[in-house]
């Protein structure tokens, strides 16, 4: 979610005032846990940045260095990078406003696509399609399909392989993660795996980038 942008909208004058008063906090603090990445990965990023400025033999020698860095090591060293909380830049905000104008249209397209998919897939017994509530507008950010039955994981993988075989991009979707399955939250909050549905949710298979031209092949 980092860098994807956020927005707070309110009609409430009191809340707006309170937010304005707290804006000073942003540059002073960072994420609670920062961003943890492998030190090796960080080093490779730095080298790649330098490589952009070089050409020919120099670039080749740096590529060899990168290959060396890619070798597995016994000990993984993680580095914490503090990420500051801040407001969006004016350029990014401008781009965001342009994209926002397309939002209603994009949502309409998503809803139409979802209707077509539901119509085609509802006859298949072992698929659990998204639950559609009455009098509520779904946007179908993703069209999630859950495989029912004991061998759900195997069936899911088989379907993904089949679709990929037809040149259709499909994958199992594991985001967002269940909080109780992320070690840093599980340990600090002492969460019990058995109390949540999260393990089951990891079996969701969702069809991503399923465009209109693929429908006939899927159906």
């Amino acid at each position: 979610m980092a860098g994807s942008g956020g927005m707070i909208l309110t009609d409430n004058k009191y809340i707006a005032g309170a937010i304005s008063n707290k804006l000073d906090l942003l540059d002073k603090c960072t994420w609670a846990d920062g961003l943890w990445i492998k030190r090796r990965f960080l080093r490779s990023l730095l080298i790649r940045k330098r490589m952009l400025l070089k050409t020919g033999k120099q670039a080749y020698s740096i590529t060899k260095q990168l290959i060396k860095l890619g070798r597995p090591r016994r000990k993984k060293v993680w580095k914490k990078i503090p990420i500051p909380l801040k407001r969006i830049s004016p350029v990014a905000a401008g781009l965001g406003l342009i994209q926002l104008k397309k939002l209603d249209e994009n949502n309409k397209k998503r809803i139409e696509n979802a209707k077509e998919l539901t119509k085609a897939l509802e006859k298949i017994q072992f698929l659990q399609l998204p639950m559609i509530k009455q009098n509520v507008k779904h946007t179908f950010l993703y069209y999630t399909i859950k495989i029912k039955g004991d061998s759900a994981q195997e069936t899911r993988d088989k379907i993904i392989r089949e679709l990929n075989g037809y040149g259709i991009h499909a994958t199992n979707f594991v985001w967002p993660l269940a909080i109780h399955q992320i070690p840093r939250f599980r340990d600090s909050l002492n969460l019990q795996m058995k109390n949540f549905h999260g393990r089951m949710i990891l079996w969701i298979g969702s069809l991503i980038c399923l465009c209109t031209r693929y429908w006939e092949r899927v159906i």
């Binding site: 906090l25 949502n107 507008k137 909080i179 949540f196 549905h197």
Partner: protein, 135 residues
């Protein structure tokens, strides 16, 4: 976007952090959040130094389980963060009913914010909503 005031931020977790800070929540205050959610929500809660309370999700809609939510609410609960997972709207009617049951704890300002959330219909962009249960 149909709102009088708008604040754009670098990330969604920054926006959540600002909302939590704007409501002056303390260390002991509990905020209810569903267990199947982007870690950014948890990061925002921990950065704002409030206590997150996880509730389970409904296995069909992947959104907040209302029964579990009812059990999780305590006198220390100050807010709940329902998430429209994958663009599937959570049961806002039931959530608002729970919030209205606690109307004795609600301030007028907060109640207005609650009504505002119901009328929003573009859920894809703002997946995360915040309803303050009490102040």
């Amino acid at each position: 976007m149909g709102a009088e005031y708008a604040y754009s931020t670098f990330s969604a977790r920054t926006a959540l952090y600002l909302i939590l800070k704007a409501h002056d929540l303390n260390r002991d205050d509990e905020v209810i959040v569903q267990s199947f959610v982007c870690p950014a929500v948890m990061d925002a809660l921990l950065t704002a130094q409030v206590k997150p309370v996880l509730v389970d999700i409904d296995p069909v809609s992947y959104t907040m389980d209302i029964d579990h939510l009812n059990r999780a609410i305590s006198p220390k609960t100050k807010a709940m963060i329902p998430v429209h997972t994958y663009g599937h709207p959570c049961d806002m009617d039931a959530l608002c009913e729970i919030a209205r049951d606690k109307e004795s704890m609600l301030s007028r300002i907060v109640h207005q914010q609650l009504e505002l959330n119901i009328t929003r219909d573009w859920l894809a962009l703002l997946e995360i909503y915040l309803i303050i249960v009490s102040t």
